[in-house]
C-alpha cells in the first residue's frame, strides 16, 4: 500500500515538474530537443556520413547525460530557491519517490529527442537485440547520471554553481570520453583513463549492438555500468535522507 502511494507520488511530482511545465511553457523543451541534433549536424558537416553511427550513439548518450545532469540545477533550484523540497520533506512523500520524480521529469524533457535518436540508431540494425540494448542503456545511464546529479545537488550552496556544475558534468561524461568517437583513438598509454567514465561503456555497448565492435568485451562494460549505477544510486539514496546535519 505504502509502495503504491509512493509510486503515485513519484508520477504526480514528475508530471508536475515536467509535463505540466512543458504544457504551460513550451520554450523549456526546445534546447533539450535541439542540442543533440546540432552536434549530429556539426559532426556530419565536418567529417561526413561515415561518422553518423558514432555521432548517433554519442548524441543518444549525451542526451541521457544531459537529462541526468540537469537534475543538479533543478533539484538545487527546487531546494534552495523555491523551497519546494522543504514542503515535500514535511509531508508523507518519501525521499526516494522525490528523487525518482526529479529524475523521471528530466527524462520526460529529453524523451522527444531520445525517441527520434533511438529510431535512427535502430535504422542501422532494426532487431530486438538492439532495442533491448537501447532500453537497458537508457535505464542504466539515466539512473546513474540522475543519482550522481542528485547527489551533487545536495552539496551545491547556490543556484549559479548548480548550473555551472551541471554543464561541467555534461562535458566530463559526454564530451571528453569516447562517447562520440571510437575508444581506439585514445593513445595507448591513456586508454585506462578512457575506460573510467561509465558513459564510455554505454557508448561502447550501443556501438557494438549496431555492428561497430571494439577490443573490449562488452560483458565488462555491462558489469562496469551496472556497478556504477548501483554505487551512484546508493550514494543518492544516502544523501536523499532529507535530514541535514
Amino acid at each position: 500500500m505504502k509502495m503504491l502511494q509512493n509510486l503515485r507520488s513519484l508520477f504526480i511530482l514528475a508530471y508536475m515538474f515536467s509535463i505540466l511545465w512543458i504544457v504551460r511553457n513550451l520554450l523549456s523543451l526546445i534546447y533539450l530537443f535541439f542540442a543533440p541534433f546540432t552536434v549530429l549536424f556539426l559532426l556530419y558537416a565536418l567529417v561526413g556520413s561515415e561518422v553518423l553511427p558514432y555521432a548517433l550513439v554519442g548524441a543518444y548518450v549525451m542526451t541521457l547525460v544531459q537529462a541526468g545532469s540537469a537534475i543538479i540545477g533543478d533539484a538545487a533550484w527546487h531546494k534552495l530557491e523555491l523551497k519546494f523540497q522543504d514542503m515535500i520533506v514535511a509531508s508523507p512523500v518519501s525521499e526516494v519517490a522525490y528523487l525518482l520524480a526529479e529524475a523521471l521529469s528530466e527524462l520526460l524533457y529529453s524523451a522527444p529527442a531520445l525517441l527520434i535518436l533511438s529510431s535512427l540508431i535502430l535504422h542501422f540494425r532494426p532487431d530486438i537485440f538492439t532495442l533491448g540494448n537501447l532500453l537497458a542503456i537508457t535505464v542504466l545511464v539515466w539512473l546513474l547520471t540522475s543519482s550522481l546529479g542528485f547527489f551533487i545537488s545536495t552539496y551545491i550552496p547556490n543556484i549559479r554553481n548548480a548550473w555551472q556544475v551541471s554543464l561541467l558534468i555534461g562535458l566530463i561524461l559526454a564530451v571528453l570520453p569516447p562517447v562520440f568517437y571510437p575508444i581506439e583513438r585514445i593513445p595507448e598509454n591513456l586508454l585506462w583513463a578512457a575506460y573510467i567514465p561509465p558513459t564510455a561503456h554505454a557508448a561502447l555497448i550501443l556501438r557494438n549492438s549496431i555492428g561497430f565492435t571494439s577490443n573490449l568485451d562488452v560483458t565488462y562494460s555491462w558489469i562496469i555500468l551496472l556497478a556504477y549505477t548501483v554505487a551512484f544510486l546508493a550514494l543518492a539514496t544516502y544523501r536523499a535522507q532529507w535530514r541535514e546535519k
Partner: protein, 308 residues
C-alpha cells in the same frame, strides 16, 4: 495528555561553527492553538522550525511533535505536519490550482478530496480569479498566498508557518491572520515565526521569545506583558530634559522622541506636567513590542548564526 509541540534542552551547532544556533531551548506548547516564535534575525527561529519539521538534525536535546520524536519517528511526524518555508516561491509557469491540487495528490489524497480542498482553500484565500493564471504573472502577495494555501489545504494537525506574512501589505496580512485563526478552529494547531510584534500579539495563544539561541521568555501575551515592571508608556516631544524624564520612569529614545515607561501614577503625573508645559504627550499601555525590546535589547547586534 500528548503535547502538541515540545522542545527539551534543544541545542544546535552547525558544522564548521562554534556558535550555538540553539542553546538548551526548552518549552511546551500548553494546548492546541497558535504558538509564535519571536526573535531577532539569527535568533534561531528558522533553525528550530527546520528541526521540528524533520529537515535538520539537532546537536542535542529533543523535539516532540504531537508526541512523536522528530529524530527517531520522523516518518510518522511527516504524516501529521505541513510547512510554509521562509521566502519560498511557486513554480513560475504553474497556476495556483496546479500547485495546490497536485501537491495534495502527491501527499496521498484522492482526486475528489484534493479537488474539494483545493477549491475551498482557493475560495478562502480569495484566489478564485487567479486560480488559472501562471504564478509568474501574479504579485508577490498572491504568490505568498499560493504557498500558504499549499500548507493549509493539507488539514495537517500541526502546520509550521515561517514568516507567513513577510512582504505582504496590511490588508493581505489581515486576510491571512483570519485564515490562520480559522484553521486553528477547524483543523489543527499552528506554529509560526514572525518579526511582526503586532502579528504575534493578534494571533498568539502562546509566545516563545528566542534571543541568541536561548529562550528569553515564554508565556501568553498578557504573561509576557506582565514581565516588564511598567504598564504604560508616554511619548514626549520636547519640553523635558532626559534627566527630568528619568524621574518618572525608564527613558528610551525612539526616532528622536523620548519614550518613558512608567506605572499608572507616574503616567498621570507626566501627562499633567506635559499639558502644563504645553508639550505634546501621548499615553498608551505597553505593547508586546515594548516587552520584546526590553527582553532582547541587551543583546546588541544581530547574531546571524545560520547554516554555513
Amino acid at each position: 495528555m500528548v503535547e502538541t509541540f515540545e522542545c527539551a534542552n534543544l541545542t544546535k551547532i552547525y558544522k564548521g561553527s562554534e556558535k550555538r544556533a540553539l542553546d538548551n531551548v526548552s518549552f511546551k506548547m500548553p494546548s492546541s492553538g497558535i504558538l509564535t516564535l519571536l526573535g531577532r534575525n539569527g535568533a534561531g527561529k528558522t533553525t528550530l522550525l527546520r528541526i521540528a519539521t524533520t529537515q535538520l538534525l539537532p546537536t542535542g536535546g529533543s523535539v516532540r511533535v504531537l508526541g512523536l520524536d522528530v529524530v527517531s519517528e520522523a516518518k510518522k511526524v511527516r504524516e501529521h505536519i505541513s510547512v510554509l518555508p521562509q521566502e519560498g516561491r511557486p513554480f513560475p509557469p504553474l497556476t495556483p490550482w496546479d500547485h495546490i491540487y497536485y501537491t495534495l495528490l502527491a501527499r496521498g489524497l484522492s482526486r475528489v478530496e484534493a479537488k474539494i480542498r483545493a477549491k475551498k482553500v482557493i475560495e478562502d484565500l480569495e484566489l478564485v480569479e487567479y486560480a488559472s493564471i501562471p504564478s509568474d504573472r501574479l504579485s508577490g502577495g498572491l504568490r505568498q498566498r499560493i504557498l500558504l494555501a499549499m500548507a493549509l489545504a493539507t488539514y495537517a494537525e500541526l502546520v509550521f508557518l515561517d514568516e507567513p506574512t513577510l512582504g505582504l501589505d496590511a490588508v493581505n496580512q489581515r486576510k491571512i491572520w483570519a485564515m490562520v485563526r480559522d484553521y486553528c478552529k477547524r483543523y489543527g494547531s499552528i506554529v509560526l515565526t514572525t518579526h511582526s510584534l503586532n502579528e504575534a500579539e493578534v494571533l498568539s495563544d502562546y509566545i516563545v521569545v528566542l534571543d541568541r539561541g536561548r529562550v528569553a521568555a515564554q508565556g501568553t501575551v498578557d504573561e509576557l506583558k506582565s514581565m516588564v515592571p511598567y504598564r504604560f508608556r508616554v511619548d514626549v516631544s520636547g519640553g523635558f530634559s532626559r534627566e527630568e524624564l528619568s524621574s518618572y520612569g525608564k527613558v528610551v529614545e525612539v526616532a528622536g522622541k523620548m519614550r518613558v515607561f512608567l506605572d499608572e501614577a507616574a503616567a498621570k503625573d507626566l501627562t499633567l506636567d506635559g499639558v502644563r508645559k504645553r508639550v505634546k504627550v501621548s499615553v498608551s499601555p505597553t505593547t508586546l513590542e515594548d516587552v520584546f525590546i526590553d527582553l532582547v535589547e541587551e543583546g546588541g547586534q544581530d547574531e546571524d548564526v545560520t547554516e554555513p
